[in-house]
Symmetry: D4
Subunit: 160 residues, 8 copies
């Protein structure tokens, strides 16, 4: 199971894309609001119990001085995927990106592109799929569909 | 008392300047290594008990994806001063600055210039001095000395 | 009392948030227009007399080449909180942030996030609350409300 | 097995840290030079056959206009971890970071901090450890050692 | 003939300007959708066969982590012109620019301004025109028209 | 007469270049240490009396949160030339540049390149030379010498 | 007389502010379209004859790779004021600012804030006013009006 | 023939790499010092006569506010390749890159990576090679050697 968390309901529009693609790829997920700065105790609890609750990968989205992904990573040995959100208080997303990406040696966060929640879902599926053949096949099929979309656009270009 | 914390001994060279100027200004301080990412539980403990241990202001230094000042601020109602450190893993200091400065509404961190630990010490003294007349006088005297140094440089310029 | 100043009425929309949260936290404030570049003499007068007029913390907002917070800090020993405003003449806020944050050693400004006036008010209250038990309790209650808001969002997520 | 690749021997000093930490965490790895721009055919071959050769995670390091991690990710369904290298032709690392991080929807790369090869190794182990109990235990032990190092620094600070 | 490619139909609005100015300058072109990340095999095929299909210059547009121009340049000895597109997933265009511009020694991409597809078309014509007198004359005439437009604006300014 | 000021003796190495080129161009100058943040009263005095003391142009150098040029400009109607200094506390010069350049409407500062004190001296001479024929002739001669230096380098290139 | 030039009619909306404030300050001006890239010969002619045509200061506005102010400065000994315009082809104004500001030693351009044409007009008047008493008095009066506007805003704040 | 120009002898160390690779690829070149800001008339002359003197491609290197490549492009219909040089007066190369890259529509400059003179030489050869079979074969051989170097590094990695 993949755990998806974010600091505020306002991040949900972005983060829902992770959940949607996980559904497409046949991976179970749960979602919750966990704020590093407003609910630090809940965050500690969430991260420390995640593995035992059956979570294999955590996807965490945050914006501005985005501490949620890195703090969760400090509290678990599960892989943590961070989604920098271009929230309303962010300086064009640079703060979100840098405060998730630039983690010190010892505590990695797998950082996605700005607002890249869809890719967070795909990466979580790839992690599951590295040992789960069924998900690996769904991913291969997903890649074929990407190709087919380009072929379709190519046809549209010539005969619009 | 002012509590000075940092994530690693390698930050000490920078952070000692906060302690030194506090000594000059007659304010008591203590110092410890507290890492947001390597010792999250110690950090929670430190921040939650700070007020009861007699600390009035916390000065926290960190570099890269610098989460220590903001996380401590989320766990206490004391004023927290953040010093962005240009650590070896930082991209010219931009990550350190943005991940301390850009805190969401509700949880402020008083951010200093890059490597500005000396100013962190002075600000901590100003906070103490806002109600402590003795420290306020030390600060006034400190300001006069800044002026005198410029006057001295001005004399040197003319007759070097 | 907290003194809130800004260079232009156009900054008021942002800066009013500092005043509002101070009211919530039970701290008295006053507000004025003081421009570093258009009324330098008024600024000198304001800063030099602030302590004697009973002000304990100054909150100053400015944008672009934002000199108001730093210049006021050079003229008083009170703690000064700077709010970088993303004004219409600013390059995405970078000038506002850097010209407030990067103060030289000797003259600190407690810098907030871009447009972070609400946090300026909270920090001013934290400074007052470091010795005023009544305000400290209001701050603790404020923190509890932040937590409750996240809990409420968490419930909404599950049963929207 | 984890596959570690880089575009040039000059990146090896950085990338060896990924291999070293994998050895510490009990995960097997192999290493090769694969250049997106100088050996595009070898890169295609490497990426397409990786899963069948028993590789579960690919770690790819590159600098400047860093295309290796993203191109490998386009050619496999395995999780790909990208390490932006601050190579001699890079503009302070910004090009390396952005050309790895900002992947389009559909093709994620788990991006690490600048020169963050050590964290790439740890994340690869976390991915393996999400289903391999033995590696998970090594990771938990590794986390404990991080804590112990801070405790040791804390003792040094008090009695240097 | 000039080959114009882009990763998605959404880039067409920008890239059509290259085609239009080529028509004006009397240079034949073809256009297709080729995605580095979604159709890597098609990209390899396109680049490797371009010279034999009579293409003399390739114009490639891409945004975000923009790998198309650089990867095509790695697979052909034809001159490749890269157009950084300010796509919806780009951080103000910086990722697009840097991931096209900062190519390693050995594999150049002639990089244009952000969204500078019109200039890509003109440069392609200049390359053709460096040995084709007819196109060179069209370019000289095009330059005269630029001058005439300024003269016309100058007249409008005085007598609007 | 041109007045040259800077906040600290450490800026002198850069600022002396303004004085030297003024001497070359036959324009009288004086130099002093005036700090916006450490001697605000001296700065006010300096700026307000400059015109009456016979100064026609003020050259002000400063680094980091550089307030000296802008504050002096707010206190005089003389033209003020600002030199952003890449001081030791500056973030690669960006703070110095932006806090001098981005002045609000009403109070201009003629901003030079980073560490561009030599150009500040030349611009001051150009301002004087706009009505002083003798200085204008020196400037014309100076421009000829720039050309001659290039011609000399051109000769060296061919026969080194 | 002040000569105001710009590369395109689309810059006029910004540049007209320079003309308007010059009119307010009693300084004569003329305006023309001169493009560095589309009419290089006209630019050379304009710059070389400016002094003899009675121009004392040149104000030049340009955006993107903005070469007009610097090239004009290379062709005259008059003071040149550059206005970086945030044109439609500019990356948030950074290219406009840097390609005007960062002139090499020997050829200064007095750079204004982004879109700071109003300040360009004021600086041009200050240059004229450094020897013209009538304009100096207008400038002093202009400064008084800036103060009065702040006083008016201050009154509005209290009794809105 | 390829014409290589630069503003100062200090750029030669970088620009010589263009000449060297052209020699390797069998393309004739000439080199000169031409400064946009110090010898604008020489620059006009150089650019206007280049085609008639048998030059097919111009390679121009410059740093800081780098106007040489763009101004030359405005004066000729030949393809112009710009090399942003990280000169001593540049802000980490950003000014050099942006003032060459961000040319307005109508006047393209084929921009290379920072200090990318070697790639400028290769691109010039590719332009020549688009119609010259002998140079095209040299380029194909050059690409094979790039591959062989990677193969050699790959062997070194395994048996150092």
């Amino acid at each position: 199971m993949v755990g998806i968390i974010m600091g505020s309901l306002s991040d949900r529009k972005v983060m829902q894309e992770a959940a949607d693609v996980l559904t497409t790829l046949g991976v179970v997920w749960e979602m919750d609001i966990v704020s590093a700065h407003r609910t630090p105790e809940k965050m500690v609890e969430y991260a420390k119990t995640a593995r035992d609750r059956g979570i294999r990968v955590i996807v965490a989205g945050a914006g501005g001085a985005a501490h949620l992904p890195g703090m969760v990573a400090s509290l678990t040995t599960l892989p943590v995927i961070g989604v920098p959100v271009k929230s309303s208080n962010s300086i064009d997303g640079w703060d979100s990106v840098l405060s998730i990406l630039q983690m010190p040696a010892g505590v990695p966060v797998a950082t996605m592109a700005l607002d890249g929640a869809r890719n967070a879902g795909i990466l979580a599926a790839q992690i599951v799929g590295s040992t789960d053949e069924r998900v690996a096949q769904k991913l291969a099929q997903f890649k074929d569909e990407l190709k087919e979309k380009v072929a379709e656009m190519s046809r549209q270009l010539i005969a619009p």
